[in-house]
């Protein structure tokens, strides 16, 4: 089991990805601590930090050769679902831990909602478009919410602008849950479009 995990982590380039995720959170956290005296981190910056921490997740969601892996007699769907959830959990830990320090990323509920929504969106994108295109939707939608989040009217319209809603917003929480569930299920069911065999031959 241990050996399988090691091989899996290496084939998915996980060590580097996790290192970068944690470094991203540490960068914002240390920068905020150094340059300001306020404790609570600017909400836009906090959301961008969540995005920056989740960006390394994207390339870990496919190996170098999908057709080779699919030939292995393993029960892949639960493993893939676990991959997304575990990565989201790893990203959440340093974000939540900031509550005990001098620079705070915001309430736990908001952070978990944002991580769930973005991780779900990434997983959904990977299942539908593959790892090379899946970063585009999360990046664009996060920035558009950042610029126009104040336009959200109360009610169901809070759902599309979920990242910038208060913790009490039910539509935002529901949208985040829907995104993570849909993302995990879609990615468990399908790893994404196959890379062209000619390109796999070149290898990573």
């Amino acid at each position: 089991m241990m050996r399988w995990l090691t091989l899996y982590a290496r084939s998915r380039r996980l060590p580097l990805a996790i290192l970068l995720s944690v470094a991203a959170v540490a960068l914002t956290w240390a920068g905020w601590g150094l340059f300001t005296d306020r404790r609570e981190i600017n909400q836009s910056l906090a959301v961008l930090t969540v995005l920056l921490a989740l960006a390394p997740l994207i390339p870990t969601m496919a190996g170098d050769d999908d057709s080779l892996e699919s030939g292995v007699a393993l029960n892949w769907p639960p493993r893939r679902a676990l991959h997304v959830l575990a990565f989201a959990a790893v990203v959440s830990v340093p974000l939540l831990a900031s509550a005990a320090t001098g620079a705070w990323f915001g309430p736990a509920g908001v952070l978990l909602r944002d991580v769930a929504a973005l991780a779900g969106l990434i997983a959904l994108g990977v299942a539908l478009f593959g790892i090379r295109l899946s970063w585009q939707l999360p990046v664009c939608w996060t920035v558009l919410q950042m610029l126009f989040g104040n336009l959200a009217e109360p009610g169901w319209r809070e759902a599309p602008f979920l990242l910038f809603q208060p913790a009490s917003s039910k539509p935002a929480a529901a949208a985040a849950i829907a995104l993570i569930v849909a993302g995990v299920l879609a990615y468990a069911w399908r790893v994404g479009p196959r890379t062209a065999p000619a390109e796999v031959a070149f290898g990573q």
Partner: protein, 451 residues
């Protein structure tokens, strides 16, 4: 060369990037409200601010192309061709860079159809703004391409995109909230103009152009350089360009924008009495003129009423946090001319335009630094309208029950006086408001003033 660029356009991720840029621009414009439908300044601003998102996308798009050689393990094969690296990379650099820049420019031209059909005033500077953005897009693509060539991991495109966002957000927050810093000039998320006649200053456009050229130069040197010399040169180019771009435009809002005399030129409606609005707001003139004339008719109850109405204009740029700037503006109206504000919302004049003009007996835009007296102004307006309350005037007192109560008291005291005395008092209050002197206008209306 043209054939090679054509091949690169089809082979590379140019089409994806163009679609992404156009899609993001459309989404940003659609979400940002209707302000830009009618004025070129607002369209330029919205379209230029979209660079906050588009530049990271361009950087990421360049990184995707930069990864190509190593991703396909063709780098050694390609390196063995007998051509200098710069020459080898140029078709790809040009194809993707020009595609991204043109996508940005064409998006502006397409969106510009809307303000063009309303026949709104177009200043040259507002049309130059997108050109600086096109240079920046080219620079972003080339810098991203250098990043992708340096490190060909699948992690690079999303990471550089978010890092570019991070950098811009950090730069635009430099100096703390409400503060100012030259570093803010390096972010494309600029402060919006306060009024439609405020045009971006040429120095700001120059700064962004230099910044875009710096990004492009550094990207080209980093992508094509083979030794440490061009790499050092790239850092130097970026440093110099960044310093110029930060220092040249200045830090205050009044440095970034200037009042465009052409946009403020008055356009008048046919018929009498004369009603004029600024050229940028000419599109509402037909809707506004009957309302303004109705308000002037009400004001004619008073002796010495204005015979002409002109939209209020500012003579300087609104600087955030100006303490001497009240809503009364900075330009006193000419004698005999009524100054009014169109109270535009969603490109339409307010339903309560008449109320907004007669409030304060037509003196709300008096150009006095002390602004106005809310209670006396509302009482005089309600008296002119012949009502007890003035609805639809946004001066903050609507949610202040105490002020509302005071208005009723003043109105009752005013109406208790004989007819002629009422007219005299309101006219005296109007003259006091126009004179900019600190007199108790409420006392004039209630008859407690010594005069």
């Amino acid at each position: 060369m043209r054939r090679m660029i054509g091949i690169e356009l089809r082979r590379s991720n140019a089409l994806t990037l163009v679609l992404l840029i156009v899609g993001a621009t459309v989404a940003a414009l659609a979400l940002s409200g209707n302000d830009w439908h009618t004025t070129w300044t607002r369209l330029s601003y919205m379209h230029g601010s979209a660079l906050f998102l588009l530049l990271p996308l361009a950087v990421a798009g360049g990184a995707v192309l930069g990864r190509r050689e190593k991703r396909t393990r063709a780098d050694e094969l390609i390196a063995s061709t007998g051509r200098p690296k710069a020459q080898r990379l140029l078709p790809g650099l040009l194809a993707l860079g020009v595609a991204a820049a043109l996508a940005h420019g064409i998006a502006f031209a397409a969106a510009g159809i809307l303000p063009a059909v309303t026949g709104s005033y177009a200043g040259v500077t507002a049309l130059l703004w997108p050109l600086t953005g096109m240079v920046a897009m080219l620079g972003g693509v080339w810098l991203g391409l250098a990043a992708g060539r340096a490190w060909a991991s699948p992690l690079v495109p999303p990471l550089v995109a978010v890092l570019a966002l991070f950098a811009q957000l950090g730069l635009s927050e430099a100096g703390g909230p409400g503060g100012s810093s030259p570093l803010r000039n390096l972010s494309f998320l600029s402060q919006p103009p306060s009024y439609d006649w405020e045009m971006i200053a040429p120095a700001v456009l120059l700064g962004w152009t230099v910044l875009g050229l710096g990004l492009a130069g550094a990207g080209y040197l980093l992508a094509t350089g083979r030794s440490w010399m061009p790499r050092v040169a790239a850092v130097a180019v970026l440093g110099v360009a960044g310093t110029i771009a930060a220092a040249v435009p200045g830090t205050e809002q009044k440095d970034h924008f200037r009042v465009d005399a052409g946009a403020q030129k008055l356009v008048c409606a046919d018929g009498a009495p004369q009603v004029c609005v600024t050229a940028v707001h000419a599109y509402v003139l037909d809707d506004a003129a009957p309302q303004v004339r109705k308000a002037m008719q009400l004001l004619a109850k008073l002796p010495g009423a204005p015979t002409r109405a002109a939209e209020w204009r500012a003579d300087k740029v609104y600087n955030f946090g100006d303490s001497d700037w009240m809503t009364g503006g900075t330009t006193p109206p000419e004698p005999g001319t009524l100054a009014f504000d169109l109270v535009l919302d969603d490109n339409k004049i307010s339903d309560a335009l008449v109320e907004n003009i007669v409030v304060g007996a037509g003196t709300y835009w008096n150009g006095c630094q002390d602004g106005w007296d809310t209670v006396a102004g509302r009482a005089a307006g309600a008296w002119l309208m012949g009502t007890d309350k003035l609805d639809g005037v946004e001066d903050g007192s609507e949610r202040d029950p105490e002020a509302q109560q005071q208005v009723q008291t003043v109105l009752a005291a005013l109406r208790a006086a004989p007819e002629k005395e009422q007219v005299r008092r309101v006219a005296a209050m109007r003259d006091a408001a126009l004179s900019c002197e600190d007199v108790d206008q409420v006392a004039i209306l209630t008859g407690k003033a010594s005069t």
